[in-house]
């Protein structure tokens, strides 16, 4: 028996170790796959960004140029900074409006009424359409001579001297309207789901204390929804930053460079001009910006959790 005790202890130890490592072992294939899928392209892109490679120009065959591509991008490429500027403007406007409109719509529909399911289903249709299809649909609708939008605007007395996609000011605004039309339902759906899942007790307590509806909304609903709001905003900010399909189909970045959002700029650099070295630098800077935004939202979420603890 005396011999068995240590042996039992070793077995236990082995079992604990086995249990501990089995989890890691089971995770390993997935982790390896994820690392392969995300790290390898990243390393490849980083390597590319340090080279002068253009698939069209024979003399630019991938020579190492260090950080020249980043230097030119940061210091000299005014077109890139213009793209970055209008992308930030685009995302601030669309995400703000989508958030307010989606939230309002969710509050409005957060009650039982006949036909609620149908209304909710209809409201989320735009976000279920593929962005390319949205672009094509609006391209037809916005045609100055033959499109329904121009016809309707004219018929209600709005003077339409030029095509909506034909002037710098209206083209970007039109893209914003389309994005808001498509993605407000996303915010609406998340907030509505959040509202449905809120506990009843805090509301009952607030009502017992005689709190007004506004106070209940501000001091109960909003704090409880905060994690969901942050997630919804994070997803929309990242998505709005990456807007490409509608721009590609509707304006191609024009007129001039009025709607040349940063992903359109990256696409043109990589797949029209085929300047892959410089294009990789552009893509990495976009990635970095998205990473910073994500980190910011993550930090806000963490802060909130610490406050709760």
């Amino acid at each position: 028996m005396g011999l068995l005790i240590p042996s039992f202890g070793q077995d236990k130890e082995k079992t604990v170790l086995k249990r501990k490592y089995t989890g890691y072992l089971l995770l390993l294939p997935t982790l390896a796959l994820l690392a392969f899928l995300s790290l390898v392209p990243f390393i490849y892109a980083f390597n590319l960004s340090l080279r002068d490679l253009n698939l069209r120009i024979p003399r630019l065959a991938g020579q190492f140029v260090g950080v020249d591509n980043f230097r030119y991008l940061m210091r000299e490429d005014s077109e890139f900074w213009h793209s970055m500027g209008i992308t930030v403007l685009f995302l601030v406007v669309v995400v703000s409006i989508e958030f307010v409109a989606g939230f309002a719509l969710a509050l409005l529909l957060n009650r039982e009424f006949k036909g609620k399911r149908i209304v909710v289903s209809l409201a989320v249709i735009p976000m279920m359409i593929a962005p390319v299809a949205v672009g094509l649909m609006w391209r037809v609708a916005l045609n100055y001579e033959l499109g329904i939008v121009t016809y309707l605007l004219k018929s209600i007395g709005i003077p339409m001297k030029e095509a909506l996609l034909g002037t710098s000011a209206t083209a970007l605004a039109t893209l914003m309207v389309i994005d808001i039309w498509q993605w407000t339902p996303f915010i609406f759906l998340i907030i509505l789901a959040g509202l449905h899942s809120l506990p009843k007790e805090p509301y009952e307590a607030a009502q017992v204390d005689g709190a007004s509806k506004w106070k209940i909304f501000r001091l109960v609903t909003l704090p409880l929804l905060k994690p969901l709001i942050i997630i919804a905003l994070l997803l929309r900010v990242i998505d709005a930053f990456k807007t490409f399909d509608q721009v590609y189909i509707l304006t191609g970045g024009g007129p001039g460079n009025a709607t040349d959002l940063v992903c359109m700029f990256a696409y043109r650099t990589n797949f029209k001009i085929w300047n892959l070295g410089y294009g990789a630098a552009v893509v990495l800077v976009i990635f970095l910006v998205i990473l910073i935004v994500t980190a910011f939202f993550y930090a806000v979420t963490q802060k909130k959790e610490e406050e709760v603890v």
Binding site: R56, G166, G256, K272
Partner: protein, 488 residues
């Protein structure tokens, strides 16, 4: 010889050279001519002894994969592929994509070196790149291989300039294939309106000369102004139920606007490389004539539908089909759509002619080349298909289905000559000029030009500022000089 006779001969020579534009400027070099002569000699030796069936025997059972543009020129041969398959036992698979997607796929495939495709259509804008990078192989080795050369290849049939600009690249230049899609720009106009007696009389009263096909851009401007009418006004005796416009222009930030404007730049200041670079590749895009041509082009948007600031070439033909435009500079290959009564309200009402002349006769042409990728798995079989699909017989059949001819034989056939826009096309080719496709940087140069053309017509900058900006950016790309120092 008398001095006066010499001077006379020199003047005549100069006049002939000017009259024949770019076509006479690109004769075969001795090396190129020697290659062609050698191929012709082999073809002559092969007459009566060579057959496609025999030549294809080693490749029986092979499948050729073709990557092509989504164009009529690529649709048409597929109707006759069964003949080739029956004769050779070589199967043929086509993949077609729209212009942008096609180019993306093509470059990615070439760069990856997959060897998936045995034949690829390459726009001549990319030929300097794909040949310079070694993505495609010269076909001279096939042309000089007695086992593979069809005696009926008829190399003399190709218009020299068209074939050269499209498929001959490198130093010394070598052939990389044959033209497969070669549209050229002509004038579209509404013949029924131009012939209408009331319109003719009104025009004469206003402008004090006969309404006719515009011969210069002053007349073009007058006619554009004249036919621009509001809803409710009369046009050819009918009350208009929508606005009508004198001219249709492409204003989108797109190659459509680049190609359209290049006609004006070329007729204003000379057609070398579309008025962009000179013979030494120095930048002339901001020359005074081009600035004037750009100002003129911008001014014409007054008589073009407001939506045309967002048009590329397809929307221009749609506007004609919907009967809202009287004239345009347009691609000849789109004329089929205009003449299709099922799609077009103006079928049978159109006229076609040469682009008006400001100073030089011009027509901007685009072209695509058949090529065999360096990594192709079945290059010999691909060459056999290439020869067959470009043979006179198949080329004529395809042309009758809407493909633009490349061979003189096809152009001269009575069936093709009877197509309404073909006489204008044939005449236009006499003055055809390409864009600077000899420069691999042209892809980026074209994007820059498209950007600043739209900035100028959107009044974000003057014509001079826009072209100066283009000149500076091109100089950075090319490393050559700017002939006219920027003024802004």
């Amino acid at each position: 010889m008398k001095k006066s006779t010499i001077v006379y001969l020199m003047v005549v020579s100069l006049a002939v050279a000017l009259a024949f534009g770019t076509f006479t400027a690109h004769a075969w070099t001795p090396d190129e001519q020697a290659l062609l002569d050698k191929a012709k000699e082999i073809a002559s030796d092969n007459a009566g002894v060579w057959s496609l069936e025999e030549a294809a025997k080693p490749y029986r059972g092979v499948t050729l994969k073709i990557l092509a543009d989504a164009a009529t020129e690529a649709d048409a041969p597929q109707n006759y592929d069964s003949e080739f398959i029956k004769m050779t036992g070589i199967k043929v698979l086509w993949e077609q994509n729209p212009w942008d997607e096609h180019r993306s796929k093509m470059f990615m495939d070439f760069a990856a070196g997959t060897g998936i495709y045995d034949l690829v259509w390459v726009p001549f804008d990319d030929m300097a790149s794909v040949t310079g990078k070694g993505y495609v192989q010269p076909v001279d080795k096939f042309m000089l291989n007695p086992k593979l050369l069809d005696p009926n290849i008829n190399l003399d049939d190709y218009s020299e300039a068209l074939w050269k600009y499209t498929s001959w690249y490198g130093k010394p230049a070598k052939p990389y294939g044959f033209p497969c899609e070669n549209p050229t720009m002509i004038l579209w106009y509404r013949k029924d309106l131009f012939d209408n007696p009331t319109e003719k009389a009104n025009f004469k009263k206003t402008y004090r000369y006969e309404l006719q096909v515009p011969k210069n851009f002053e007349q073009y401007n007058h006619i554009a102004e004249f036919f621009t009418r509001k809803k409710g006004e009369r046009l050819a005796g009918e009350v208009l139920d929508r606005d009508f416009y004198g001219v249709g222009q492409s204003g989108k930030r797109h190659w459509a606007s680049v190609c359209e404007w290049m006609n004006l730049a070329s007729t204003w200041g000379g057609p070398t490389w579309g008025g962009t670079l000179d013979e030494n590749d120095d930048v002339v895009i901001n020359r005074p004539e081009n600035v004037e041509a750009l100002e003129y082009w911008i001014s014409l948007f007054r008589f073009s539908p407001p939506g045309s600031v967002d048009w590329y070439w397809d929307l221009k033909s749609t506007a004609f089909q919907k009967n809202i435009v009287a004239m345009a500079l347009a691609w000849n290959d789109q004329s089929y759509e205009i003449e299709d009564p099922e799609k077009s309200e103006v079928a049978g009402k159109m006229g076609y002619d040469l682009i008006p002349i400001q100073k030089y006769p011009v027509s901007h042409f685009g072209s695509w080349s058949w090529t065999i990728p360096t990594k192709a798995k079945n290059p010999d079989a691909a060459w056999l298909y290439l020869q067959w699909v470009n043979s006179r017989d198949i080329a004529l059949k395809c042309a009758l289905e809407g493909a633009m001819p490349s061979r003189k034989y096809v152009f001269d056939s009575p069936e093709i000559s009877a197509i309404p826009f073909m006489p204008a096309t044939k005449k236009a080719l006499d003055h055809a000029f390409p864009r600077p496709v000899h420069r691999p940087e042209w892809g980026e140069m074209g994007e820059i030009l498209a950007l600043y053309l739209t900035k100028a017509h959107r009044m974000e900058m003057t014509a001079q500022e826009a072209l100066d900006k283009v000149a500076v950016e091109w100089q950075r790309l090319l490393g050559t000089s700017i002939v006219h120092p920027p003024k802004t």
